[in-house]
Symmetry: C2
Subunit: 234 residues, 2 copies
């Protein structure tokens, strides 16, 4: 079954790594963190512990840079056996602030595509993470005018998308989600009989990767670049 | 000019300190933090520095417990002249997690009032702070079914409320906001010619206090307890 584009009324865009670069900044922060803690452990061990801690903390801290920063502090205490210097802790806080202050670097053709699609569709941003942080990025991006509003989802599971459609007051067939994560942007949307298009980003967080069995038999489309959307939807 | 209750379609409830206790937990956390740092400074000085840091950080961290925790860590480093122990840092992280895990303690009559009002009005939660945290509290509260959805606002200024009304697709006269903060829940709403009712909470964060000149000539109603709403709106 193909997507029936003529039904589409609202297009939801994931933000991080779909509209602009994000994952790259987390990777860079991890490298900096590993360097800071290199007196205590190997890079691999530090990176692994941070990744585990971040995932363990998702339930309590949720997504976003503040929770990630708190996780870095906790890992630093633990991996150093509570001997890490105050100076290192201060540097970790700085890593977090630097991430929050990063410039917004748009992915290829984003503005062009939004300009085109906003003529015929209601566009929204549908993202996990922190509202303030995402609003700030949207403002810095210069893309604010193309979007009707931002929807912040505490998670991107089927129930969250069902609530979103309810809230938008549209049927599943009238919604199209665009994003770089099969797990978060595509599969849950397809599972509630709505539509999704996958645009892979060059790095994908290990927590977001899915096995072949999960995608088996699911109908979604993959395109290589955002610009391909215009031909599909016009 | 009185509020014209017969126009009201949507009622927005602030969450923290309007539906359930919140500020009290921040106060308790501050006291714990002051005790932890008492080897370095007086209670008053520590409390003052934390309050200043938290406000300075609002622009970058926004509202909520995670940013507050990061601020506590930073104040601990600074006030101790970078001599605070790792153990104390670990305890600060624990204070933050304890806050996130606090039980939800409803204010008086909340459930009764929501039950009554949900019969005739669309009820929403309109709150600053972290979506995950607020969703968790709403779930714990048992109040989820009374609300159409949660609106997370990155701030509660006039523009945020105008966006909210746009998003809800209603006129200012059709909205009524209920909350404990004059600054966040009442004045900006009244300023965009919508309606608001103030229900004071026994403690109010100093950042949320407003001077008499700001309230002068503004039309809003103050009630002492949530239960008074029912008589007004029925």
């Amino acid at each position: 079954m193909e997507i029936d584009y003529k039904n589409i009324k609202v297009i939801g865009f994931d933000a991080d790594d779909t509209l602009w670069i994000n994952e790259t900044y987390f990777r860079e922060a991890e490298v900096e963190f590993c360097k800071l803690l290199s007196p205590f452990e190997t890079f691999n061990k530090i990176d692994h512990e941070l990744s585990m801690k971040h995932m363990e903390h998702l339930a309590i801290y949720g997504y976003g840079i503040k929770g990630f920063t708190l996780s870095m502090v906790e890992v630093a205490l633990e991996l150093s056996n509570h001997t890490v210097s105050n100076k290192t802790i201060a540097k970790i806080l700085e890593i977090g602030k630097d991430m929050l202050n990063k410039p917004v670097e748009l992915l290829e053709d984003v503005e062009l595509v939004l300009q085109e699609l906003s003529k015929n569709y209601k566009l929204i941003v549908a993202t996990k993470g922190d509202l303030l942080d995402q609003e700030r990025k949207l403002e810095k991006s210069g893309l604010l005018d193309y979007f009707h509003h931002i929807e912040i989802l505490s998670d991107k599971k089927e129930a969250n998308y069902s609530n979103l459609l309810n809230h938008l007051d549209i049927n599943p067939s009238e919604f199209l989600m665009i994003g770089n994560s099969l797990k978060s942007d595509v599969l849950p949307v397809v599972n509630i009989k709505s539509n999704a298009i996958h645009i892979p980003f060059h790095t994908t967080w290990v927590h977001e990767q899915v096995g072949a069995s999960e995608t088996n038999g699911k109908v979604y489309k993959t395109i290589n670049k955002l610009n391909d959307l215009v031909a599909l939807l016009n």
